[in-house]
């Protein structure tokens, strides 16, 4: 029997297993290590994920906060935008309305374009009428048939009418007062989702109402809308008032104009009558003067013959009477000549021979002519006319009469030692003013007003002594007026007078 070993030699399988066990062990260990690392990584990742999730949730939370804040911002911005746009339109509309002075035209200016720009879709305007109650003045966004229906139904809204028209309140879909009971009916009647209704105010209260509304159920009225409609309604109310005032004023003006026209007609007729009377007067004076002059010439002639003693010497008493007749005849003749001159000038029968005249030359030649009486009274005569003064356009003979009359008067009323000045200056481009001043007794304010009237003579010592016709200044005034000039007198009692007149330049 072959010997046997107590120890079995390991088979290749066992060797493999033992090796595998070693590798397995190593692999398991490695795997365990990897797993531990992975677990650690997963743990880390989980922590990161939790962090990210938290951050994500936090960001989402912040987004919610942003949205909530942004909502308010949008709301405020939208309201502001709407207000600004509406104000621009309101300003445009107000300008259009306020420049309209016809009541009906005011309502025509309220058109769909402006209503849309103000942020509304439709509008109605009612005005209070004393006889008919309420009148529909405008229905924007409605057909004519719809407007008729609105007119009928609107008057059946007593609470709304009372709130707006009598209590002057702005009513809208924002309010919930007693008038709100009528709101649903009003909205369905007008086909609106929201509205604002405001009184059209005037000084004496509401004249009507303006209702503006939106069809869109998504348009919400705001306090800003209420303000806007109220401003527009007030503007319309005031424009209506202005239009009425203008109309009243226009009627008053028309009435006034009619009255003025009537009065002007009456005055023209009176003036014509006066002209006729004046012409008759001139004709009468002319005729009478001529009629008087013929016998007067005879009287004067015979008186002169008698006074000269050509028919034999007269007794002293008779001679004295005849001389008086002669002197009074001269006075009468002078009076008649003066009247005739005035009459001729007034009636235009005197033709003015207008020619260029040098005032300085004329004044100097007159000074020579009037030198003796001035010398007698010791009156100084001054000519204050600048050399080179433009010539005037006047009738030489008539202008000399003016100067003689005025300077003659001045000599008469200036006491010895006084001064008479003839001055001339240009007034403007067309006229030259001439003044004859004296340092005489002057004229009272009362008499000054009457001076220049025919036959008026100031009641003073000089006039009492010196006879005169009272026609001199009247004649001067007519001559100046016939030259298209003006005549004026200024005087101060006891200090002298100035007689001024203007004449056209060449």
């Amino acid at each position: 029997m072959p010997p046997t070993s107590t120890f079995n030699t390991p088979s290749s399988l066992e060797i493999l297993i033992s090796y595998m066990g070693m590798f397995g062990m190593i692999a398991v260990i490695v795997l365990v290590i990897i797993l531990v690392f992975k677990m650690e990584k997963i743990k880390e990742l989980k922590t990161e994920l939790a962090k990210l999730k938290r951050a994500f949730e936090e960001l989402d939370g912040q987004a919610k906060l942003i949205v909530q804040t942004d909502v308010e911002l949008h709301k405020a911005q939208e309201e502001l935008d709407k207000k600004i746009s509406s104000l621009v339109t309101l300003q445009k509309l107000s300008r259009l309305i306020s420049t309209t002075l016809d009541e009906e035209e005011i309502f025509q200016k309220l058109d769909e374009k402006h209503i849309t720009e103000l942020g509304f879709d439709r509008a109605v305007v009612f005005c209070r009428d004393e006889t008919k109650g309420y009148l529909l003045k405008a229905a924007i966004g409605y057909t004519a048939e719809e407007a008729d229906r609105i007119m009928k139904l609107m008057t059946g809204m007593p609470l709304l009418m009372d709130t707006v028209m009598n209590k002057h309140k702005v009513l809208s879909t924002l309010e919930m007062d007693r008038a709100a009971k009528e709101t649903p009916h009003l909205l369905s009647m007008l086909g609106l989702s929201s509205f604002v209704c405001a009184p059209m105010m005037q000084k004496e209260g509401a004249v009507g109402l303006l209702l503006m509304g939106s069809e869109s159920p998504y348009t919400h009225m705001t306090e800003g809308d209420k303000d806007l409609v109220y401003i527009l309604a007030t503007q319309i109310g005031q424009s209506i008032e202005n239009a009425k005032l203008f109309e009243e004023q226009w009627h008053a003006q028309q009435e006034l104009e009619n009255k003025i026209q009537l009065r002007t007609k009456e005055l023209s007729a009176a003036l014509e009558e006066i002209k006729v009377v004046s012409k008759r007067k001139s004709d009468f004076i002319n005729a009478v003067s001529h009629e008087l002059r013929t016998p007067l010439t005879s009287i004067k002639g015979y008186a002169s013959i008698l006074a000269a003693g050509k028919l034999g010497e007269l007794p002293a008493a008779a001679k004295e009477r005849v001389e008086k007749i002669n002197k009074h005849s001269d006075n009468l003749s002078e009076l008649i000549n003066g009247l005739l001159d005035i009459s001729r000038i007034e009636s235009g029968r005197v033709e003015m021979k207008l020619e260029p005249l040098d005032l300085l030359n004329m004044a100097q030649s007159l000074a020579d002519m009037l030198a003796p009486p001035m010398k007698d009274k010791n009156v100084e005569f001054v000519v204050d006319i600048p050399e080179g003064l433009p010539q005037v356009r006047a009738d030489k003979g008539q202008l000399e009469r003016v100067f003689i009359n005025l300077i003659g008067n001045a000599i008469k009323f200036t006491p010895p030692g006084g001064k008479i000045t003839v001055a001339a200056r240009p007034v403007d481009n067309a006229m030259i003013q001439v003044g004859v001043s004296d340092t005489g007794i002057g004229i009272s304010e009362h008499d000054l007003k009457k001076l220049g009237e025919e036959f008026f003579r100031v009641d003073n010592d000089v006039n009492a002594k010196v006879k005169g016709t009272g026609l001199g200044l009247s004649l001067v005034k007519r001559i100046i007026e016939a030259h298209q000039g003006t005549f004026s007198i200024s005087s101060q009692l006891n200090h002298g007078s100035t007689f001024s007149f203007t004449l056209p330049k060449m």
Partner: protein, 402 residues
């Protein structure tokens, strides 16, 4: 013959006189040349048969399309009241006009299909390049109408257009189709010939807060977001109760629409919310799909103005080397509201890019335009709060004739 475009505008009270005035102004600008097509836009105040009578009285028989808008955009201003008319005189382009009404009874998708079929029939040529549509903006799901049109014309066919508006009244809008005044429908045309159109579509709104996932949709109603009633997104972000949100939802949604992430696009697709349904779902003007990422969006005036520049640039760039002869501009009424008094700056930005060319458009309730306008093969979507510009370029064929 080169392309001539004229734009007339009037604020006259009488629709007939306003139309005549705008027509004469536009006709003068195209030197009384034959009118290829006319686009008429007016504010709701003028939505009247007399308006169309005025146009036809002044211009005789012409091909006309258009609709009402909350404002009329023309080169001088953006007016809340008025009538604008664009007259185009050009060769090398043919088109098929069509209209279809009865969205409320037949459904928007069927009306879209009817319109597309009829327009193709009237086009009388197999080649087609662009559809231009004007549809009723009161329709709740604007995307459905587009789906109908795309069912017939194909998903990638470019469609450009606007949803008629009535200044937030949401009562009735109108579409103009030749002498007909339509409502509750769509009017438009399909152009064929040399491609002379360039489109630019931008809004400028940016996402705010974390992304959410839409988990339930029914047509144009986003029912649930992350398994919660969709309105929760507004409740949470605004910190207001559902009742409070309901009161101001339209306004909130204008400033903070929902944005749907569209892979590959730089901007989110915006959705205005019209109302909240009984389950707290958000009824949107356009559709959305389950699984889409939705964000609350936020806009600022500056971002909106920058977007105007980008949209105009996009439109101009897509014309490539063609000279811009004019443009149709459809601006969301929401942008108009956001920009407030700065709204005309948007017009200035557009003009700065396009130059002093005739521009006409409206402030609309929705805009239809392809997302990838540059490539011109993108699918058309319904947009909200967006500025969509269709630049009309000079035809190369016309250049050769000169």
């Amino acid at each position: 013959m080169s392309t001539l475009i004229g734009v007339g505008f009037s604020e006259k009270k009488d629709p007939f006189l306003a139309a005549s005035e705008a027509a004469k102004m536009a006709l003068y600008q195209i030197h009384h040349r034959p009118i290829t097509v006319a686009f008429l836009f007016s504010t709701i105040h003028f939505a009247h048969q007399r308006l169309l009578e005025g146009i036809y009285y002044a211009l005789g028989h012409i091909k006309l399309l258009g609709c009402t808008g909350s404002s009329v955009i023309w080169p001088e201003a953006i007016n809340k009241y008025g009538v604008g008319l664009m007259l185009i005189s050009m060769d090398h382009v043919t088109f098929g006009q069509a209209h279809s009404v009865g969205i409320k009874t037949k459904g928007a998708r069927q009306i879209g299909e009817e319109f597309a079929r009829q327009a193709l029939k009237n086009l009388s040529t197999p080649q087609r390049d662009l559809a231009l549509i004007f549809c009723d903006g009161i329709v709740e799901n604007g995307s459905d109408l587009l789906k109908g049109i795309k069912d017939i014309l194909g998903l990638s066919f470019p469609i450009f257009g606007a949803s008629a508006a009535d200044n937030f009244r949401f009562h009735q809008t109108y579409q103009y189709f030749d002498k007909e005044l339509l409502t509750d429908g769509v009017a438009g045309l399909i152009f064929s010939g040399e491609n002379i159109f360039g489109m630019g579509v931008r809004h400028g709104w940016k996402p705010l807060g974390r992304p959410h996932t839409i988990t339930g949709v029914k047509g144009n109603v986003i029912k649930t977001i992350e398994e919660k009633p969709a309105v929760t997104i507004y409740e949470e972000y605004f910190g207001k109760s559902r009742k409070e949100i309901e009161k101001t939802l339209i306004e909130m949604s204008i400033y903070y629409p929902l944005g749907l992430y569209v892979p590959g696009e730089t901007e989110y697709l915006l959705r205005n919310v019209l109302r909240i349904d009984e389950d707290g779902g958000l009824v949107c003007q356009g559709d959305a799909s389950v699984g889409s990422e939705v964000r609350l969006m936020m806009g600022t005036k500056e971002w909106a103005l920058n977007a105007a520049t980008q949209a105009a640039q996009e439109a101009k760039d897509s014309l490539k080397d063609k000279e811009v002869k004019g443009a149709l501009v459809f601006e969301s009424i929401s942008r108009n509201k956001l920009l407030g008094r700065l709204t005309e700056r948007e017009l200035s930005r557009i003009k700065k890019v396009l130059g002093n060319v005739p521009i006409l458009g409206i402030c609309s309730y929705g805009e239809q335009a392809p997302l990838k306008s540059l490539e011109h093969y993108g699918e058309t979507y319904f947009h909200n709060e967006t500025l969509a510009i269709l630049a009309i370029g000079e035809s190369h064929a016309a250049d050769k004739h000169i």
